[in-house]
Amino acid sequence: MIRPTRMSGGVAALALVLATIAIIIESAAAVLAAGSLSIFLLWQAGRFERDLASVAASLTVSRDVDRTILRQGVEAHVRVRVDLTPPPGMEVLVRDVPPVVATGTAPLCEPGRIATYTIRLMAPGKTSFGGVVIEAADTFFTANLVCRRFNAPQIRVFPNGVAGDGQGVGASVGDAEVDRRSPLAGQGIRGFRPYREGDDPGLIDWKVTARHDALYVRELTGLEGGTPLIAVDLPARVGDLETFARFSMAVSGAVEGAINSREGCSLLVVTGPEVIRFLPGTMDIREALDALGRLTPVEPRAPLYRSPGPAILTARARIPPRGAGEGETVYLTRLGGTLSAFAGESPAPFAAAVREALGRVADLREVRIFSLLQPGDKSHLIQLIHEAKVWGMRVTLRAPPGAPDLPGVDAVEAI
């Protein structure tokens, strides 16, 4: 039901006062004033209702979930965009409604903007979203309207493998889990998600693909298990807003996942050749998120000018000077000498800082680098990857699709 604002409350109070005055002084003009203000409010309420109905009729919702088949308790990232046509004088905000079995809340945002949030589905079975809430307000009235028609996509949650005595897949909270072989049981598979460009074709699950008539890939538990060092390369600028939103969501999700793993989160935040923050094994999610500094873009103060770092320079200097011809051999010999001289003299403070940081978390076996890989110098990432390799760590790069290859990266995952 619509609710009055402070302004309409004031107008109603004024109408009451005028009605009282009309009775006291027996004035037809005062009766008219009181009556016209009351009719005015009634007319405004009717107009507000009509506007609200037109807003609801113009509503379109576009919602993406990164995986629609997943294991109970695993987080899913949601991106939703709500478009509508607000009438003049009406302010409208929208909020997505997660499934009833999900933990996590959606942010309130303006129509036409993409909202991103994370949910965790706590009960097995098939579930879908609860629609969207329209929060509309004008000068005289406000109202919340829940539109449940927009509940796609449907999400299928598999139990964690606890045996029960049920007869089928749970459809709501309270249904027992079944003691039967689940597609996600005992295979190290955390969930399935639609195939994205750049995914390894070997990860396509053909049974799920055939069942849903769309390509689905397996997400292995091992790839997200454990607590890798999370290295965040802060971009110099926001660039494409949608890509930046996906980047922020991926970083926050990785940090949250690492802390929830109860082994702590090791976080390295860099911008260009500068270590902004380093947190080894924190269990405090607030401290970790503070270290990320809201992922605000930071302009690097000291570019490396495409210097791959002393270690790589030294390695290059050791390359035998064997060229295709005499001229090339001479060139390579001279280049080796020059590189050797610079490699020895280069102070390389960034490489030293990264080496020291990695030395403090040397027990970790993987570095997961999050970067937008914006155009420009990527020497700092090359140095970071090289130092990780020196410590024998596996390097996974999470970057937007179509990002350029970096030497030494073991796996690339699309953000």
Partner: protein, 96 residues
């Protein structure tokens, strides 16, 4: 801004009462409320409703009867609004 506008509305109502004449009060009231609004879509409907009420006040010629008639109109209007709101909620919820 909103508070100042409300004070201007209060001042306008004092003027409406001070005029004494019903027809003049009707004109001033319509002008005051028009100045009070930013968005005047459908304002003619409101003018028609207020003119009808002014006619009712003139015909009835009694203050209490006029106020009772107003109360009846408001109750009916509130019932209609509630019904519309209920149907809208059902439609948005996917039940209708």
């Amino acid at each position: 801004m909103t508070d100042r506008r409300f004070l201007i509305l209060c001042a306008g109502e004092i003027l409406v009462i001070a005029v004494g004449n019903l027809l003049a009060a009707l004109v001033i009231q319509i002008l005051v409320l028009a100045a009070f609004l930013d968005d005047r879509r459908g304002y003619t409907i409101f003018i028609a409703a207020v003119a009808l009420y002014a006619a009712a006040v003139a015909v009835l010629g009694h203050i209490l009867l006029s106020l009772i008639a107003l109360a009846v109109v408001l109750v009916c209007g509130y019932a209609a609004l509630t019904l519309h709101d209920y149907r809208l909620t059902l439609w948005a919820g996917g039940s209708a």
